[in-house]
């Protein structure tokens, strides 16, 4: 592919903010996005922006007592589009952005900061009850249903007496019918654990030797296909989740890029083989996964095991000198994405030619 046929990552709009922004998410079915962060005075802020004629305009600003770390629309219905947020104090809140005075659902879910949040079952994607999962610094991963107050519907916590490790990232997957659902969690000691919510058991765990910054399935609403886990030291691993070997687990391929922490990975909603990683040096890398000729093979004892494919770099661009902490693809327009970095700016990017990749 010549230089002019490769997808180009173009910075469309750049907006400088006056607070530290931790997360940014598109509001489904609209040209609006929210940014979450904290002011220097120690309060949390949610801002709602709309893209109009090549620039962003601030529509609404909501300030709350505790700083926000993460948010998701994943468990909201398309009509209501409630935002679920996790804050520095361990509170999970679900907000109606039109009436933000009191949250629709609120619970003090964790004793320490909620590092990561994910939602499934809303937005017409996937089947089953809408649920939210939160992972916190207190080492626990809890799954919430907004119809059940105060008590999580699933709690993945360390055994009594075990010293805890920070949970840095969570992701839902395998939600292809009403019963099946899986949560993947990544911890700071390099553990990646896969919990099966239907059987309430630990399905698989591994250690990737570096703290896990971000995990994501390529699609939440299909039978688990691929999982990408990114970590410190500039590495990320792509696991083939179709074939589980009883002892060796899932096959994986790993890649080193960015020369610094890979903070986020996000798959393109319109094509599950393409994903973008955001790095600690302010760079974005666009990757494409290619499947191997045969996705599974028999090992020496005749047990099926998976075969990992290969990953190739399509494009990369350096946007900032500070880490890009959060990245979100627009589910409505292919190639449109919003990213936020620790240099207090949020950028809207256009990635071209993704339909020809």
């Amino acid at each position: 592919m010549t230089a002019f046929e490769k997808p180009q990552i173009i910075a469309h709009i750049q907006k400088s903010l006056n607070y530290t922004v931790f997360d940014c998410k598109w509001v489904p079915c609209s040209a609006k996005f929210v940014t979450l962060g904290n002011y220097a005075r120690g309060t949390g802020v949610i801002q709602l922006y709309e893209i109009q004629h090549g620039d962003v305009t601030l529509l609404r600003e909501i300030e709350k007592a505790k700083p926000f770390k993460c948010g998701t629309f994943g468990a909201a219905s398309l009509q209501q589009r409630y935002l679920a947020t996790g804050d520095f104090d361990g509170n999970l809140n679900v907000w109606n952005l039109e009436a933000p005075l009191t949250p629709v659902y609120s619970v003090k879910g964790h004793k320490e900061i909620i590092n990561a949040i994910d939602g499934v079952g809303g937005l017409g994607i996937g089947e089953g009850a809408p649920e939210i999962v939160t992972g916190s610094r207190d080492g626990t991963v809890k799954v919430w249903d907004s119809r059940q107050k105060d008590i999580p519907v699933a709690n993945m916590e360390p055994v009594q007496g075990e010293s805890k490790r920070d949970c840095w990232t969570v992701a839902f997957g395998n939600a292809y019918n009403q019963e099946e659902r899986v949560v993947c969690a990544g911890y700071d000691n390099g553990d990646v654990k896969l919990f099966d919510l239907k059987n309430m058991s630990l399905r698989w765990e591994t250690n990737i030797k570096n703290g896990v910054c971000s995990v994501e399935f390529d699609r939440k609403d299909i039978s688990m296909n691929k999982l990408v886990a990114t970590s410190l030291e500039g590495k990320f691993h792509v696991f083939d989740m179709r074939t589980q070997h009883p002892t060796k687990g899932f096959a994986s391929v790993s890649e080193k890029a960015h020369k610094s922490t890979v903070w986020q990975v996000r798959h393109l909603p319109q094509n599950r083989e393409i994903f973008m990683t955001a790095g600690g040096a302010g760079a974005l890398h666009l990757w494409k996964y290619e499947y191997p000729v045969q996705r599974s093979k028999k090992d020496s004892e005749g047990v099926e095991m998976g075969v990992a494919g290969s990953v190739s770099l399509l494009q990369n661009v350096t946007l900032s000198t500070q880490p890009i902490s959060s990245l979100d693809w627009s589910p409505d327009k292919r190639g449109l994405c919003v990213c936020s970095a620790f240099d207090q700016t949020v950028r809207v990017l256009i990635v071209t030619k993704l339909n020809k990749v």
């Binding site: 079915c29 249903d145 993945m156 490790r165």
Partner: protein, 423 residues
């Protein structure tokens, strides 16, 4: 040997030029050195020398000399048009000759300098020009790429605006459809009611019975299909709990591959230091390496406490305290064990020791201090020293006023004290 002067030269002239021919006399053409200025011409081909102090100035830049055929032929272009009386000036004395020679040399030098300067200037000009062209080319390239990007941006913006318009229209359409649907439903409701009232009037009529069944059937179908349209959301999941264990890691920081070597080294050094310290305690010699680590022993004690093996837990804590008696959590945990075993005096001792060690009262050890107070309070109460117990519970509440369990227990103790006082 002094040079021989050439005197047998021949020359011709026109209005504008002078043609001079010098015999080479067998000297190789390469050896001929010609020096020519405006007024002076010298040809030196050893052993011969020819000098001419020209009658009038000539254009020495354009004049030519051809060497060959055993002769040198000069074509000198006159500066001023006119016939010369002679080739060279007639009356020239030695001094004048010298002066003319010197002037000529200087003239020649000046001309040479001018030439080199001119060359340098043109060279610089050329370089600048080349650079300018290069920059223009690069600029064009960059502009092309920028334009491409700009086009993409514009296209994307337009598409986004168009899509937003579409969304708005779709929303408006949906609203219209919803309104229509509502009206349809209302109409159907009204029809149903009318039919119901009609049916009541004609219950004995068989035909209307049939029609009633028929309409009922139709309505039932509509209700059924509407129910299918409603999305079926399953009930919340039944609460579940999964216990997990982590890959063990001593350090509270995140795991990084590049730091693993350093961390191993640090741990090794710590183990060495401990070994040196404990070499004087003979009983510890037959213990394994890890069993001499107070942290490991504390973990072991915690696990034993979790499985309700309190005596073994106390042993583990004892050994740990022998190795390092400055860790407050060891005393705290041992106090909990003693409390479970009802060794109340030991509980009080250990909690007090823990509180002593937690003397800098900071937010970090608030949790530990609270636990110590609660355990000591419980022990006091079980010894029926309710006042001291209440004091400890109050202290615990001061540290953490939001703890409901402690508050309730404090209330209970207060009631007991008041109860006994009344008696």
């Amino acid at each position: 040997m002094p040079p021989l002067q050439i005197k047998d030269y021949s020359w011709q002239q026109t209005e504008s030029a002078v043609y001079l021919s010098l015999p080479l006399r067998g000297v190789r053409p390469g050896n001929a050195d010609i020096f020519c200025t405006e007024n002076y011409l010298k040809v030196n081909y050893p052993p011969f020398l020819f000098e001419a102090f020209l009658y009038a100035p000539i254009d020495d830049i354009n004049s030519k000399a051809k060497i060959g055929n055993d002769a040198i032929v000069f074509t000198l272009f006159k500066k001023e048009i006119g016939m010369w009386e002679a080739l060279s000036l007639a009356s020239v004395d030695k001094e004048m000759m010298q002066r003319i020679r010197e002037k000529s040399v200087l003239q020649a030098q000046a001309k040479a300098k001018e030439l080199t300067e001119a060359k340098a200037v043109t060279k610089r000009e050329d370089e600048r020009y080349a650079l300018k062209i290069m920059m223009e080319i690069e600029e064009n390239e960059r502009k092309k790429i920028e334009d491409l990007k700009e086009n993409e941006r514009q296209k994307a913006t337009k598409e986004l605006e168009a899509w937003k318009e579409q969304q708005k229209n779709a929303a408006v359409e949906e609203e219209k459809i919803e309104k229509e649907l509502k009206m349809c439903q209302q109409k159907k409701q009204i029809e149903k009611e009318i039919k119901k009232s009609q049916d009541k009037k004609t219950t004995n009529h068989i035909k209307s019975m049939k029609s009633k069944n028929f309409t009922k059937g139709k309505n039932a179908k509509i209700i059924f299909s509407e129910k299918l349209k409603d999305d079926y959301v399953p009930a919340p999941r039944s609460t579940g709990n999964i216990k997990i264990q982590f890959t063990p890691r001593v350090f509270p920081t995140a795991l990084r591959e590049s730091q693993v070597a350093e961390e191993e080294e640090w741990l090794h050094k710590q183990a060495e230091a401990r070994r040196i310290m404990n070499e004087d305690i003979p009983e510890l010699h037959d213990l394994k390496e890890e069993e001499k680590n107070p942290e490991w022993l504390k973990d072991k004690g915690n696990k034993l406490f979790g499985t309700e093996n309190y005596l073994a837990a106390i042993n583990a804590y004892n050994l740990a305290i022998r190795l390092n008696n400055k860790i407050p959590s060891l005393y705290l945990n041992r106090a909990a064990c003693h409390l479970k075993l009802k060794n109340l005096h030991k509980t009080i001792e250990d909690s007090s020791k823990a509180l002593e060690l937690l003397i800098p009262h900071v937010a970090d050890n608030a949790n530990a201090r609270m636990k110590a107070h609660v355990r000591r309070g419980t022990a006091f109460c079980q010894l029926e020293l309710y006042v001291e117990g209440l004091q400890d519970y109050e202290a615990a509440l001061k540290i953490d006023p939001s703890n409901k369990v402690v508050r309730k227990d404090a209330e209970k103790i207060r009631n007991i004290i008041q109860g006994t006082e009344l008696e």
